[in-house]
Amino acid sequence: MFALLPALATAVASEFITDETILKWVGFAGSIVAKGFQVDDRLGGLTMHIEQMVAEERNPTTEEWGMLQARSDVAHETIQSWRIGA
């Protein structure tokens, strides 16, 4: 849902604005807001997961660490494989 925000912001703005630079800027602002909401949502999920861990009086398992590390490896690969102008 959040991913649609930049496109939506640009589409709405394009009804009133024809300047390409400003439209690109509106899309970028929409992108920032969308990412902010996504991050907030995911941090909320992580917080709930840890609340459960605290309630169960346990530490993270090897499997839980492994799942996070696998997600990190994918994200890291995406970030580091990007090159300027790509």
Partner: protein, 138 residues
């Protein structure tokens, strides 16, 4: 139809966007209680920002200058975060060994592992904070 938007208005809208993007209310670090839970919360926070950074890298609306900052912050944070995982797992193993065989040797091993985990945590934290700033505040 062509609409002129003054620079100050653009600045206001961008400021609102940034404020909204940075208004995170959830704090996994405050929720965690044990050292291993705190390490997990810190690493999980790192993963959330790293994934958001990866999505921004793929987003054509994001300027290259921003992507370069995210890429640099990630290249610094990732090794420190990975060390945190390794040491946290070693701490869990040491804790399990001590529970199984209560001895001075395993107690010393656990104390050393906890000290190493604390060092890894405080070494990784500023690097992960820098990545979150690069992704969230731009």
């Amino acid at each position: 139809m062509r609409l002129y938007i003054p620079t100050y208005l653009r600045a206001i809208v961008l400021a609102v966007a940034l404020a909204l993007a940075g208004c995170s209310t959830a704090d996994p670090l405050k929720t965690a209680q044990t050292l291993e839970q705190k390490a997990f919360a810190l690493y999980g926070t790192f993963v959330v920002y790293e994934e958001a950074g990866a999505e921004m890298i793929l987003d054509p609306a994001v300027p290259d200058s921003v992507k370069v900052v995210i890429q640099q912050a990630d290249s610094v944070a990732k090794p420190a975060a990975d060390i945190l995982v390794t040491v946290a797992r070693e701490t869990s193993v040491a804790r399990a060994e001590l529970a199984l065989i209560p001895s001075e040797t395993f107690r010393d091993k656990l104390v050393a592992a906890i000290a190493a985990l604390q060092r890894a945590y405080w070494s990784a934290k500023p690097k992960i904070d820098a990545l979150s700033l690069a992704v969230e505040n731009l």
